[in-house]
Amino acid sequence: MKVFVHKDKCVGAGQCMVAAPEVFDQNPEDGVVILLQANPLPELHANVREAAWLCPAVAIEIESD
């Protein structure tokens, strides 16, 4: 799985951080997403998918292997 984040779409909701804290963090100033791992391990995939569908700004893109 490859994960992409669109920082210009991100509105700082932070739902991704709650769903998959190993993969997503937030810039403390503007709350914009920080991608911690672009190729998360399989055990994190379900959480990352949840983060993607929860994101209100459609800022997370997933490419499955």
């Binding site: 509105v11 700082g12 909701a13 932070g14 937030q26 100033e29 503007d30 709350g31 209100p56």
Partner: protein, 401 residues
């Protein structure tokens, strides 16, 4: 066993519900009725990036078409649901077609409120759809004097966008400051300061008495204090009404949008989600919010209830607003009836705080301190006693000092 699902409403909540149905194993037919021509798109950027011309409208699509195709939904777009027959289990469309269901998801959203008169004048706008935003942008580009009626989220965001586009902007609201109803007096006074610093004429404590025109186009707004403001363009942003007219006579309870129980259910086999849907919270009573995040979360909950996976819907509401250089993030309840306690104050441009009810934290807000909002969210979830919050200031109603 669910075998024929109809979704009325083709925006964020309807999409979220459909995706949840598929994700959780429902393989049967889904017909989605939407009264717009577009596939599901995102509304928050309409008052910001779209208005300012920073984004093309194609960036609003909530999913790429490949993802929408994979959902295997019958998309009945540009069609209006006219009535619901609960006996026949049928939704009737304006074109005469009937959609049979055994599971129904109502996600028809809200429509903008209008003033009693004046909307027949050219260049008087409301904002909900992509078409509204395109017309509003065109109007703004061709106007000098802009009057925004209503200083809630939408009005304040459009005022900021119009000001950034170089227009003369007057922001009118009967309450004491912008965003007061939503965020209380302290944060409201910060918004008033912000807009004034950026050159918006903030006229609070007054309402609109009349909109006057010349040759069929708006030219002036008369305020309730008798003063007249020149207006080449007016945006009326005075709130919204849940889109439930089509449900009159259906038998569904409609005291606050579609009235749902704590599981987002309005009647057996009927659930609702998003701006249109109110639900029962054990602490707050009947709640309805018009936040983008709620559409996603409630869509998920409503779909699960329809599938028989009933869990009480107890979200922590999240919303945000971007105005000028300010990014505001908020969780929980933040209304004017609550006490606001600043927690961190870093000059004029960065602060955070919590909202208190009966000695407990029920809401949190951050102004250019987004990650701090996430931290304070935990206090909201826990309903932390206000005295336990480290570094907390006494309640404030004004930003002076």
């Amino acid at each position: 066993m669910l075998s024929q699902v109809v979704v009325v409403g083709g925006s964020a909540a309807g999409l979220s519900a459909v995706e949840t149905l598929r994700r959780e194993g429902y393989d049967g037919p889904i017909a989605l009725i939407g009264d717009e021509v577009h596939l599901p798109y995102d509304r928050p950027p309409l008052s910001k990036q779209i208005l300012k011309g920073v984004w093309e409208s194609t960036r609003l699509a909530l999913r790429p078409s490949s993802a929408l195709n994979a959902l295997e939904v019958e998309w009945l777009l540009n069609r209006r649901a006219e009535s619901l027959d609960m006996q026949q289990r049928v939704v009737r469309l304006s074109n005469g077609c009937e959609c049979q269901f055994d599971g129904l998801i109502i996600a028809t959203g809200v429509t903008p409120r209008r003033l009693a008169a004046g909307h027949e004048l050219a260049n008087v706008h409301t904002l909900r759809s992509l078409e509204d935003a395109a017309k509003l942008r065109e109007g703004l580009l061709n106007s000098r004097s802009v009057v925004i009626v209503g200083a809630g989220f939408l009005g304040a965001e459009v005022a900021a966008a119009a000001r950034e586009m170089g227009r003369d902007v007057v922001l009118v609201d009967p309450l004491a400051a912008p965003m007061v109803r939503q965020l209380g007096a302290y944060v409201g006074s910060r918004f008033a300061d912000l807009h004034r610093e950026k050159g918006v004429s903030v006229r609070c404590g007054v309402g609109v008495q009349a909109m006057l025109g010349r040759n069929g186009t708006v030219s002036e707004v008369v305020l309730s204090d008798g003063s007249a403001v020149p207006a080449d363009l007016v945006l009326v942003a005075i709130g919204s009404v849940p889109a439930t007219d089509w449900l009159a006579g259906s038998g569904l309870p409609l005291t606050n949008g579609v009235d749902c129980d704590e599981f987002c259910q309005a009647a057996p086999g009927v659930v609702a989600a998003g701006d249109v849907a109110s639900w029962l919270d054990p602490e707050l009573g009947r709640v309805r919010v018009e936040h983008r995040m709620n559409a996603t979360e409630q869509g998920i909950a409503a779909a699960r209830t329809l599938l028989g996976r009933r869990e009480p819907f107890r979200p922590v509401p999240y919303f945000w607003s971007d105005q000028f250089t300010i990014k505001l993030q908020a969780y929980g309840s933040t209304g004017a009836d609550l006490r606001f306690h600043p927690v961190q104050v870093d000059g004029k441009n960065r602060f955070s705080g919590v909202y208190e009810s009966s000695g407990r934290v029920v809401g949190a807000l951050a102004w250019n301190m987004a990650k701090e909002a996430r931290t304070l969210r935990t206090l909201v979830v826990e309903r932390a006693p206000i005295d336990s919050v480290a570094g907390i200031h006494p309640p404030q109603v004004s930003a002076t000092g």
